[in-house]
Symmetry: C5
Subunit: 299 residues, 5 copies
Amino acid sequence: MATRTRLSRLGLDTGKKARLHRILHQHGLRNGTALFLPYDQGFEHGPRDFFANPDSSDPRYIVKLGVEGGFNGIVLQIGLAEKFYWDYAGEIPLVLKLNGKTDIPPDNAALSPVHASVADAVRLGADAVGYTLYVGTPVQEKDFAQYRQVRADAQELGMPLIVWAYPRGWAVAAKGGNDSFYAVDYAARVASELGADVVKVNFPHPEKSEGVAEQYVGTDVSAQQAIDAVVRSANRTLVLVSGGTRAGDEVMLEKARESMEAGAAGLIFGRNVWQREHDESLRFVASLREILAKYDVAP
Amino acid sequence: MATRTRLSRLGLDTGKKARLHRILHQHGLRNGTALFLPYDQGFEHGPRDFFANPDSSDPRYIVKLGVEGGFNGIVLQIGLAEKFYWDYAGEIPLVLKLNGKTDIPPDNAALSPVHASVADAVRLGADAVGYTLYVGTPVQEKDFAQYRQVRADAQELGMPLIVWAYPRGWAVAAKGGNDSFYAVDYAARVASELGADVVKVNFPHPEKSEGVAEQYVGTDVSAQQAIDAVVRSANRTLVLVSGGTRAGDEVMLEKARESMEAGAAGLIFGRNVWQREHDESLRFVASLREILAKYDVAP
Amino acid sequence: MATRTRLSRLGLDTGKKARLHRILHQHGLRNGTALFLPYDQGFEHGPRDFFANPDSSDPRYIVKLGVEGGFNGIVLQIGLAEKFYWDYAGEIPLVLKLNGKTDIPPDNAALSPVHASVADAVRLGADAVGYTLYVGTPVQEKDFAQYRQVRADAQELGMPLIVWAYPRGWAVAAKGGNDSFYAVDYAARVASELGADVVKVNFPHPEKSEGVAEQYVGTDVSAQQAIDAVVRSANRTLVLVSGGTRAGDEVMLEKARESMEAGAAGLIFGRNVWQREHDESLRFVASLREILAKYDVAP
Amino acid sequence: MATRTRLSRLGLDTGKKARLHRILHQHGLRNGTALFLPYDQGFEHGPRDFFANPDSSDPRYIVKLGVEGGFNGIVLQIGLAEKFYWDYAGEIPLVLKLNGKTDIPPDNAALSPVHASVADAVRLGADAVGYTLYVGTPVQEKDFAQYRQVRADAQELGMPLIVWAYPRGWAVAAKGGNDSFYAVDYAARVASELGADVVKVNFPHPEKSEGVAEQYVGTDVSAQQAIDAVVRSANRTLVLVSGGTRAGDEVMLEKARESMEAGAAGLIFGRNVWQREHDESLRFVASLREILAKYDVAP
Amino acid sequence: MATRTRLSRLGLDTGKKARLHRILHQHGLRNGTALFLPYDQGFEHGPRDFFANPDSSDPRYIVKLGVEGGFNGIVLQIGLAEKFYWDYAGEIPLVLKLNGKTDIPPDNAALSPVHASVADAVRLGADAVGYTLYVGTPVQEKDFAQYRQVRADAQELGMPLIVWAYPRGWAVAAKGGNDSFYAVDYAARVASELGADVVKVNFPHPEKSEGVAEQYVGTDVSAQQAIDAVVRSANRTLVLVSGGTRAGDEVMLEKARESMEAGAAGLIFGRNVWQREHDESLRFVASLREILAKYDVAP
């Protein structure tokens, strides 16, 4: 099992450390691990994501679920944060997602525009901000320019910065795709090099190797070894592993276990949680918490 | 019949609440519903929209019609607001439309540039600002960037923000078109996620399903069910349903009834109102008011 | 004959009203009409425009001609304003043209970049600023963005804003061309909606109807009816009709008469004035003044 | 022989006049004419320009040559100005060239990015700034936007502005090329209209008339008549004629004579000066000074 | 052997001189030469660069190696500088690399976006900043615009500026490629003209002459003559020669010797150092130091 870096070794300024401490040690399991509930799919994919469980269309239902499920934080875009978080302010940490896009135009030159500022996050009492960085996109200079401002503002205001490090764009598609081991590994590293405090990655797929960098080809890497490497590439950046589209529970729990074993700080599961009935959601969350409970890390 | 959310549950800051209260409870029917008169078609489509009723070319005629018809607000671009609103200032709330474009170049990468600021709205005594967001356009990052500044300024100055959430662009055209249920539903959600206080939508067409997201295909959704869903997707964002191009009165009144039944806050009808003689306009407005009168909502 | 709106009904702030009053009632015929002398053709078309009368190449000659001819204002770009207006400062109002372009690259995506600020106009003692807005161009968002800043600065500094409202670009070419009735009518309206105090239009051509909006097709509109409509579309925006390329004197004087009859505030004639010998220029100007003298309007 | 305009008639503010007086009347021949030594070719063309005389690669050698040759100014980019001018500060006026580009990518949409500010020029004790404006390029709006800032800063800081007015880009190539009489004449006018204090032009070629504006075709214009016209088009903007690529001495001296006869303020010769041995350089400079000595102009 | 310019002759302001003195005379061999350890390859190429020596993936390992090897500085991107430099702050100078990009999209219009500011470098106690300038790229105006801000900030804050002057883009590829003598020579000059204090170049290849400027063709230039010329083109800009991809030790040491003989200030070797076991790395570094020890230069 990989060792976990304590908050005090990450080179964090006071404000960031205080807020991450609140998220990791004063919410959820309070053991230094994290379980986040992301809820920006209505924007990223549209209301179609709510058809499986119509209740999930209502932000109030989701925020309440976050509280009931004992999550370490809920992730919202500015509009829903303003309209719904006031009801539960303080009961669950808020991660204000600062950028996002619809999935209507194609993704080959993906860019996720910024919709809110770090100052908005401070105003709303958030404990972290989220930013989607599309690693490898042909318009990376626009993305990096946006990101740079967010990073600088977060540094100035002591706000932890969670980077959704997502390989994307036609050049990525030609080099193994969005979730190849090569691409996910690279994305984790980019987030670390560019100052993310926390990085959200998709689970890496070592079998997707067509077109990837030669060093990633022809080696017989297991899923565990791949996620191990990704966490290593992130070095002192805390890693959250994403659930992605809904899949079978056993598969998801296995991924969760492998992620934590690799040294990840936690999980960020949305559709796998709320695309089912309320009580089933809570049962699935309980299984995730059971896993996280095994990976205590001191502050 | 859907329940209507009261202003006090929307998470609004003081200034926005004061101004929305003025619009909804101190003008028009003063019962919490709204009827708006938009008058930016001379810019969006050109003077051709005034050929059906030449008097309608004169902004003074229209502002006066707004007062006579008991509208909750009139929507003007900066130039007409400066030249004509002073005559009737205070008699009818002003919604300053902040962006707009001509219809001369094609719409496949539609973007509606900003022409005035929220500060201009404050200077002119407006009670709300309007912004057209083209959801799904390939140049969405430019649109979102403009919108973000408007949203931030509106937040800072306590000015209610009405978003014209219009699906547009070649990618939308390829996925069911501008007024498919899928597209309108998505647009309503985007406005809510991005911080609109009020969203203006077109009436959704569930029968337009070629190319839309699979969840919207093959279900037998009625017009009422579609508009119900759109209002639900907007959650705590007040919904205004648009009249669009002029159509038969009975069709329009039926849409109005269905919209209000779905939980919309009101209607925004322009060409259907003023593309006819003065007295006919007022008669049609009276029918709309009759509908709205049935949907009282407390402040 | 159309009624003329008095300055006091235009909703103008103090500074704009003071400066327009100076131009319209303290210069030229002092009767509320206006005759402007534009001199930016050396930039817009190059020195070739001066070959017909080599003296016209010298800005000093032109400014003097403006004084001698009793014009209400002379229009210059920043460079010539700085180098030549000091000699005659105060003797004739200066309209500082803020944007412009060469005619070397093609016009299909025309944009006229800004070269000077409203503050420059204040510094040089100008009484108005001019801005060319290319209505209908595919790059309209850049144009509108520039224009917006100019409009805001002019509002702040009390400087009257004259908009050269010129239909332009490939989409306009495909819908009847730059001077169709449809396009000129639309352009006049756009200027009014976007806050121009004065709009400069080309004389509309109702016979150019191929590709225009259907409302403009198949009606038998006279030249007088067309310019009447254009002035109506401009509503409370003062209209100046442009001379354009040099044509026969009788044709030009007839256009001038029709324009004034339609309710225009005045004329703006350059090449038709100075592409001939000095004394001939003054004689032609005298004919124009004769026409304007018939259209007194009180302040 | 054309009359020369005195500094006091140019409408200059105090700082610009003081600095131009220093350049024209306190350096070089001190007779109101000017001879400049440009040295940005290492950037514009690369070190290949130094192969003819390897010593010329060393900026120190060139600055010293400028002092020895009695030039009115030396033109440097920011890097060389910072590293080499301190050695000779005050002994020869510095013209800080504010923009420039490599010649590696093709020129069809030429743009010369800004590398230093007018404030940098003030800090380094420069007496003028230089800006390359590519007249007629399809990206003219970017160029004009850059230029506008430079012009405004120069106006604010009283710094004379020398514009390298160079026709460039594919549209120019299709209309007679970079140094046709038509293009050079237009470029000189543009610089004057846009506020240059001094304009640097290439010698015009009336024989290049394929594709130029019709007014320039079929007339039998001599070299002298062409440069006369160009100087006239520049009106109160001082004209410097450029040497360009190295050519035979007699040809260059003849061009110099014709330029001065036309009313140019002076010459700007680089490669023709330093692409030869040190003493030969000084001998050629002496010939140029001999010409300039005949064209005294009072301050 | 070329003479080396002393710091006091470079025209440096106080802060830059103090920091360069610290790097060159108070670290490493303390003899005025420099050996830098760059570590941004995880961002520029991805984690694949660490496969040859898995330990090298850990930034802590590398910073420690920099200290142990007696380097004059370590080069890090903002994220790793924040997370890892605090541990060793002051023990080895930090060069904060301000821009960078992934190698996923192709390089034909390469641009390296800025990720951190000079103020970040000050905050972290860095002694220099690094900027990659892609000389000859078709998007050079964006690159130059970024660079200009960095240069101005570095000037204001007294921070030495090291420019990675890298020929890149399709136009370079068509003119001999990234490391032809022509391209490297041009790049060194550009850095000097634009105000770099130090320039990092790749070793020039005179044999790559297809498509280069004619002056570089057909001459029989040795490797030593080529690097001599490059250093001369950089004039008073200190030259660092880059190691590039890992090659045989003897080849690398020979390049190092030739570079120092040509007058370079030092070397910047990354992969050649750390793509091997720890002790082998130190042995190779010792060989490099042996070479540098022969080129003392007084402050």
